[in-house]
Symmetry: C2
Subunit: 243 residues, 2 copies
DNA sequence: CGCTCAAACTTGGTAAAACAACCTGTCGGG
DNA sequence: CCCGACAGGTTGTTTTACCAAGTTTGAGCG
């Protein structure tokens, strides 16, 4: 049969050059072979070489300078640190995959901040689903999910049972909405007495509160996720290029 | 003279299509004209059309599906929110551009977390430069900069005078190091008595502590920036695509 | 009428060629 | 000795051409 599709030539070239950079054949700071040399060595056409080098440049492996050549920068170190995005996991993974306890599931009045993120009137009603996540037999995080009432109708989110499907897939198949990006706000505050008790944390330790507004491609807010992290047990990490 | 360089054709095509999407000529969800139609309308070749459409896809304006066509997604809403990166501004802007007060400048023993970010031994010596930034006649943030001693030698950072040049440019011209990316850690904690006093904040309000490890292209840490933000007055915002 | 399959569309990938813009040496002439 | 012109290298942009792969449509046949 041999239906294994071979990757396109330019992708093979990308991998070959990446291997050479990682192995030290093309050390950082050195000049990459010119387009003409690569054409001859790999027996491909110039558009193929250029396509491969464009990918490498966009990924940060090399940088090019018209008239001089392409310089090796090395394996992009930034890609090594994967940011931890609280809330991401709760949107794609089913609730049954992480142990936890559902502590609230019903319609409530929206807090001001959440209402603003949902483009809704303050104190208007929305559906709230709140869970405490348990790791190593200890409560570690509280995850809250707010949905407009029209988005919660006809879904299993209103039930008190753990979801056996990711929220993202659940809403896509039943309501036809497609998650696109998340606008995230990070703040810190002291826990309420109830929160400290539910999370098993001292009352004098602050909380990291992460609000994630999930929106579709046009920017319309769909749901809001709030993750509460005791600051003595969690921290957030991210990486970005300096402008 | 007419030395104004005209943008390349594919970039012009990108702008033209962006305008049509924004004006509603190509509403979201609709099918973009096929490559052949665009070739005829704009009188360009196919690679030029493809290059323009590739840019639009990478920027999130459209998505393509082999065999069917290219679908309009609309103006990428994510790009509208620009993340606020504390520390970024302090690396590029001169200290004289924002009012503040220098409260420390000298060699100190490294705290554990900063030593780890610098790949240095804990309690080893490094140079610390600490400033309180004043906005609207009120202290609002504390910015600390740690540098390895060999990187601070021969610079004006060790002086008690405000820098008239950005730190990034300062270190590039005098020490030849080039900033590439930042690995950021966000935590929350209670302020010390001294910090609360210097920042003019209540003692029962937590601090958002942002640690930024500035590294070069190979991942070697260069300097560490710490920004302390009273949580009742600041919050962090960011946006990212849902995977 | 319903099903099958081929034709005609779409985007994705490769090849060959040419010109333009930019950099860096070398080789003269002043 | 200095400086400018020039040749030869590099990447950037554009064109023409062809084939491959996925999707839709409709003609034709049972």
């Amino acid at each position: 049969m041999s239906l294994e599709s071979v990757p396109p030539k330019y992708a093979q070239l990308v991998q070959a050059l990446q291997r050479r950079i990682e192995s030290g054949t093309y050390p950082p700071g050195s000049l990459l072979p010119s387009e003409h040399q690569l054409i001859q060595e790999f027996s491909v056409s110039r558009p193929t070489v250029v396509a491969a080098l464009r990918v490498l440049r966009e990924q940060g492996w090399i940088e090019s300078q018209q008239g001089k050549g392409r310089f090796v920068r090395g394996r992009p170190a930034m890609a090594a640190v994967e940011p931890n995005r609280p809330g991401q996991a709760y949107l794609t993974n089913p609730e049954t995959s992480t142990p936890g306890e559902l502590i609230e599931a019903g319609a409530v009045a929206l807090p001001n901040r959440v209402a603003a993120l949902l483009d809704a009137q303050p104190k208007s009603k929305a559906f709230l689903r709140r869970r405490v996540v348990i790791r190593d037999s200890e409560p570690t995080e509280q995850v809250s999910l707010w949905l407009p009432l029209e988005l919660s109708e006809g879904t299993s989110l209103t039930s008190g049972e753990p979801l056996r499907e990711g929220i993202r897939e659940h809403l896509r198949s039943r309501k036809g909405v497609r998650f696109d990006h998340i606008v995230e706000q990070i703040t810190a505050r002291m826990p309420t007495a109830q929160e400290a008790k539910q999370l098993g944390m001292p009352k004098n330790v602050p909380l990291l509160a992460v609000f994630g507004a999930v929106r579709d491609a046009s920017g319309r807010p769909l749901v809001v996720v709030e993750v509460l992290l005791p600051a003595d047990r969690h921290e957030l990490e991210d990486a970005y290029p300096v402008s």
